[in-house]
């Protein structure tokens, strides 16, 4: 006889644990109610689609080759890169907006005590909030894949590049979502949580971009006769760190290595003295680093929520 216990054992639905999270269920219902979710999705696709159209028009004019024909490969790469950049920009600004009010909003609507008195574990609360917000961001990213795929019509872009871009965008969204939930747990005011989240994100973007540009300029300006391989290693690592901390520079350098060296997971670096070394591709370092950081922020958030009001 089938009992609730063995029914749950034989269930093959991998989403079952997620859908049993009461907070995730409630949030998903709340998020998808009314026209708001569909309006945001439509506006997002209009913005990405509009930019893609403009880029196509501008790109066809700019990528004529010597025979007077459009250079399909270059146009495809430009279109693909631009769509990903726009998606990255939108994800950077949309994700915190969904998560920064997640827990502070419970305080503001005075429902936080309702959840706390049920003895709901903190990790379930944080996971539910994060999952529901990220599920929507993932929906936005998936919805834009057809626009990314337009690049296939012109060539110059592989399926691997789309997968890598999606991974980097997902890792970015997961990290930014975690930052939003963390600040939301730190304060009872959504406005304050939003400000703290965006300031942190802006600081990360500015510092990593500036660091990558400076390190690159120094590496480019190295004089082979005077520089030692030791100092070049230090600069290479510093540049690598800054590049891999920023999603845009990560994507740009990954694409550069893919085009120049045709390698997906590693790239070769040639020192000024002629020796070479093999290093992991920036997207791998970026994804691993931000996923690990996300886990750390997740646990910091649950730890903070465990603290009882003073």
């Amino acid at each position: 006889m089938e009992t609730p216990a063995n029914r749950s054992r034989i269930s093959l639905n991998p989403l079952r644990p997620l859908l049993r999270n009461p907070v995730a269920l409630k949030e998903l219902r709340g998020r998808m109610r009314g026209p708001r979710a569909f309006v945001v999705l439509t506006c997002y696709l209009i913005v990405v689609g509009g930019f893609t159209t403009l880029l196509y028009i501008a790109g066809t004019a700019a990528t004529y080759n010597t025979t007077g024909e459009v250079d399909g490969g270059t146009l495809g790469r430009v279109l693909f890169g631009s769509v990903v950049a726009i998606e990255l920009f939108l994800v950077t600004f949309i994700t915190p907006a969904f998560t920064a009010g997640s827990i502070s909003g419970e305080h503001e609507s005075q429902t936080y005590d309702l959840l706390r008195t049920t003895l709901l574990p903190e990790r379930q609360l944080v996971f539910g909030k994060l999952f529901s917000a990220l599920a929507y961001v993932f929906l936005l990213l998936l919805a834009a894949i057809p626009l990314q795929s337009i690049a296939f019509l012109f060539g110059g872009v592989d399926v691997e590049e789309i997968v890598i871009s999606l991974l980097v965008l997902l890792a970015t969204a997961i990290f930014l979502g975690n930052i939003g939930v963390y600040y939301s747990a730190m304060t009872h005011r959504t406005l304050r949580a939003n400000i703290m989240t965006y300031v942190t994100i802006l600081a990360v973007i500015l510092v990593t971009t500036a660091g990558a540009v400076i390190a690159l300029a120094i590496v480019e300006g190295l004089d082979p006769s005077t520089s030692s391989s030791g100092s070049e290693w230090v600069l290479l690592v510093a540049r690598g760190i800054f590049v891999c901390l920023n999603p845009l520079t990560t994507l740009l350098s990954t694409q550069q290595y893919l085009v120049n060296q045709q390698t997906l997971f590693t790239f070769k670096y040639t020192f000024t003295d002629g020796t070479t070394t093999t290093l992991p591709s920036p997207w791998i370092a970026f994804t691993i680093f931000y996923l690990l950081l996300s886990v750390a922020v997740f646990f910091a958030t649950t730890r903070h929520l465990k603290r009882i009001e003073g």
């Binding site: 049993r20 009461p22 907070v23 269920l25 409630k26 219902r29 709340g30 109610r33 609507s109 005075q110 429902t111 005590d113 309702l114 959840l115 706390r116 008195t117 049920t118 003895l119 709901l120 379930q124 009882i308 009001e309 003073g310």
Partner: protein, 324 residues
């Protein structure tokens, strides 16, 4: 001796320790025995909700402890699975239906029992409204849903913080019945805070009156209110009556608003003929005289003094209960 359901030992809360510290709860001690309906009374800001928040581990105690079923929830939070609570008003997710709100609460507690939820909706009189979004609920309906949510896990202790807040007289009467049923029909222990004193008087077995963070008085209602007999007289002139009687008896004007020609006399029922004779001799018109049982409100006002401001006066919350 059975383990008390709630026992506080020097429970204290100080807000703002460094700058301008405010003593919200001051070393309070009380015990709630199994099966009791315990009223926790006090004016606004007296420390009632702070005490409940500390009991439910929603707030740190600055000193002392609150034991629930003999366990400290700070060390053993799972003891709170035996507690159902309605804290500082019933707040729910307005965009979800009543039924879905119950599901959120049930699942957050580890599992939603639809059969029990249906029984509870029947118990609180919300059958038919469970498919309506909570934003369309009246305050009374939300409070009733709050009670249903508090009872979902079949708790042994039910903590209700101002359960009649914002309810109309009919709703208050229903709530009184719910509370009575919880204790006397279903054997739950109920810890109740309210500023509607007549409600507490009619539902509770034992009360504690808290003022400025301190428990001023604590005991069985019957014992607190039956300490002395009183008579209430309706007379033509309060001043003349006072002058006529105060040689022999202690007299005071009634504390009931809009009853300016009534006075309370600390005397037994057997003194009635003497009092009437005395008033007639002194040419004071007597319209009625009857023994009265001191109401909890009278007692509360006597204990709290001028600190109490009735925040939500309703016909049910004021007035003594004369016994003919």
């Amino acid at each position: 001796m059975a383990t008390p359901v709630i026992e506080t030992e020097g429970l204290t809360k100080i807000f703002g320790r460094l700058r301008n510290p405010k003593l919200a709860v001051d070393h309070i001690h009380f015990r709630v025995e199994p099966g009791q309906v315990y009223g926790f009374l006090g004016p606004n800001g007296a420390g009632k909700s702070t005490t409940i928040r500390m009991m439910l581990n929603l707030m740190h105690a600055s000193d002392g402890k609150a034991l629930i079923f003999g366990e400290d929830p700070r060390q053993k939070p799972e003891i709170l699975f035996r507690v159902g609570s309605l804290v500082e008003g019933a707040t729910f997710y307005p965009y979800l239906r009543g039924w879905d709100n119950l599901k959120v609460v049930g699942n957050s507690r580890g599992g939603f029992d639809a059969t029990r939820a249906k029984q509870l909706l029947q118990f609180v009189g919300l059958v038919g409204s469970e498919r309506v979004r909570v934003k369309a609920y009246s305050t009374g309906m939300k409070q009733r849903l709050g009670i249903a949510a508090a009872l979902l896990n079949n708790p042994d202790l039910v903590i209700l913080d101002e359960p009649t807040n914002g309810m109309d007289p009919a709703g208050i009467r229903e709530m009184r019945q719910f509370i009575r049923d919880l204790a006397y029909k279903y054997g739950k222990t109920v810890f109740l805070t309210s500023h509607l004193l007549s409600e507490v008087q009619q539902t509770s077995d034992r009360v504690a009156i808290i003022n400025k963070g301190k428990i001023v008085v604590e005991g069985l209602i019957e014992e607190l209110l039956n300490q002395e007999e009183q008579l209430e007289a309706e007379v033509g002139s309060i001043e003349k009556a006072k002058t006529a009687l105060q040689e022999r008896w202690q007299v005071a004007a009634s504390t009931v608003p809009n009853e300016h020609n009534k006075l309370r006399i600390k005397a037994s029922r057997n003194d009635t003929p003497s009092i009437v004779r005395r008033l007639v001799e002194q040419n004071v018109d007597v319209f009625s005289i009857a023994p009265v049982r001191q109401s909890l409100e009278d007692y509360f006002l006597e204990v709290i003094g001028d600190d109490f401001v009735q925040p939500n006066s309703s016909p049910l919350s004021i007035g003594g209960t004369p016994h003919a």
